[in-house]
Subunit: 302 residues, 2 copies
């Protein structure tokens, strides 16, 4: 099996995970989570989003969280910015990277952000340009690259088209997201191959959801194509808004367990990562949504 | 990705799953579960074990369950037989197949069945011979082929040695089990390759546990070596006695979801399989331990 020797994980728990919590999590808890993640060896963390607090009250403390982090050398801190206003606010917090987003599904784009894919790209063009003018690295999150809750399966050609539009506006790296977790290994490989028509292998990452339990198989399939960057979420933070009670983001712990078992370096201390997951899960009053974390915590208690 | 076009699943839920329940499940419920599984398209079901009711009270109703099943043409019904007494009792129930077992780990063999691997094989030799004399197909379950709770990692050479001993006593098919779920794709492939020194690809199956969330990645890795037979358990029935509260057998629903997504035929109707899992989970008073089942049930309710 031909696999990369090193993998970089971006933990999106503090942002993508915690924005799905009904009750906003206090800034101090988010800051402590980020500290624990960087102490566990994560080299990039998606911290927060600079979006209207009317839409996403969970992230209203974005500037406070960014200001409270004791930054660690070598770690990158990224934030989501949906528009120019968000970018301007974000820049004051000095992120290393901003994240813009668009869907590969027209229906999803309309329902999620109330405009067409082309319109969303047009809007983001200004944001991307402004960020790059300031020397900020820009990552693009491509949602629904395998399936859409409204349209069903998404053809790889649509993913290639979205990747091409992202490239045209200056996005430097794209994340290939299976937003509703319906992907299986070959379908995920097709979405990746479509993206690779426009981006080099070093400029793409996989973002898989475990809604149907498929995320690790999909991660393995991506690794086999040479993908070496993945978004994951500590303790599996983040639900799936399209299937109540179902799992969303794949748990960082499960991915790290597989990678280490494959002999792939991540720079992450799995036991410390499990501790970070237990910290935030304890705060949320539930168990970590990670099978590896569950097994390791049981083993400690045994 | 080079994968088999068809896969056969053996649902081990009624035996391997339900023997882990504290309170024995009534025979009528087990029979109904078997009926639902065969109606969902399963072509083999591990029904029960003929073991002393003192050791495993959960399976004390073995003969009653076997007698109560309305057998469906084309479906195979297998039972576990730990010794000659078990085989003799089992034969009265006319199974299509019996299952014997041995560990690739010496410490596990000693603690689990109180004898060495060689002694366990010697004891089973008589059982295998007697079964084959009656024209009954014999499957061998090889436990701890990747890791052992007492010894840690198990070298592939030990798996090859066990497979060779199984072959010598006339076992026709071997299941390669990751009993504690610690395997990751390359380690699992090594255990399979070790087994293939003594058995043809058509005579091996994978039996993976999802304790650390690795079962689907391991299944994909096995498929890539040409393995096309797997043990799975509806609703993820069966815990892990070595990690309380942790997941054991991989859920049939999760595996079927992946296989169908890969375009692989199974003959199984996933929605009916989800119904079967919900039936037994309702009886046990809990939710199915399957992410695909959870997502599909949520989708129905949405």
């Amino acid at each position: 099996m031909n696999l990369p020797s090193k993998v970089k994980l971006v933990d999106v728990g503090p942002r993508d995970g915690l924005q799905n919590e009904k009750s906003p999590v206090p800034a101090a808890v988010k800051i402590e989570l980020v500290h624990r993640l960087q102490s566990a060896g994560l080299s990039e963390i998606e911290v927060t989003s600079f979006v209207s607090p009317k839409w996403v009250p969970q992230m209203a403390d974005n500037a406070e969280v960014m200001a409270g982090i004791k930054r660690k050398t070598g770690v990158r801190y990224s934030v989501l910015t949906p528009n120019m206003q968000g970018l301007e606010a974000a820049l004051l917090s000095k992120p290393d990277e901003i994240v813009v987003f668009a869907a590969a599904s027209e229906a999803f784009s309309q329902r999620n952000i109330n405009c067409s894919i082309a319109e969303s790209i047009q809007r983001f063009a200004l944001v991307v340009q402004a960020a790059r003018d300031k020397g900020i690295y820009v990552r693009g999150a491509m949602s629904c690259t395998v399936g859409c809750p409204y349209e069903g399966e998404i053809a790889p050609e649509r993913v290639a088209m979205l990747a091409s539009m992202m490239k045209d506006i200056g996005v430097q790296h794209v994340g290939i997201a299976d937003t509703i977790g319906v992907g299986t290994p070959i379908k995920v490989q097709r979405a990746i191959e479509a993206t690779l028509k426009h981006y080099a292998i070093d400029d793409v990452s996989g973002h898989f959801h475990d809604t149907y339990g498929q995320a690790l198989g999909n991660t393995l399939a991506a690794l086999q194509l040479g993908v070496w960057q993945f978004d994951t979420s500590v303790a599996g933070l983040g639900g799936c808004p399209f299937a109540k009670g179902a799992t969303g983001n794949v748990a960082s712990e499960d991915v790290v367990y597989m990678l280490h078992g494959l002999g792939i370096e991540t720079g992450i201390d799995l036991e410390k990562l499990v501790d970070a997951g237990q910290f935030i899960s304890d705060f949320l009053g539930r168990k970590p949504n990670s099978r590896a974390a569950t097994a390791l915590l049981n083993k400690r208690a045994f």
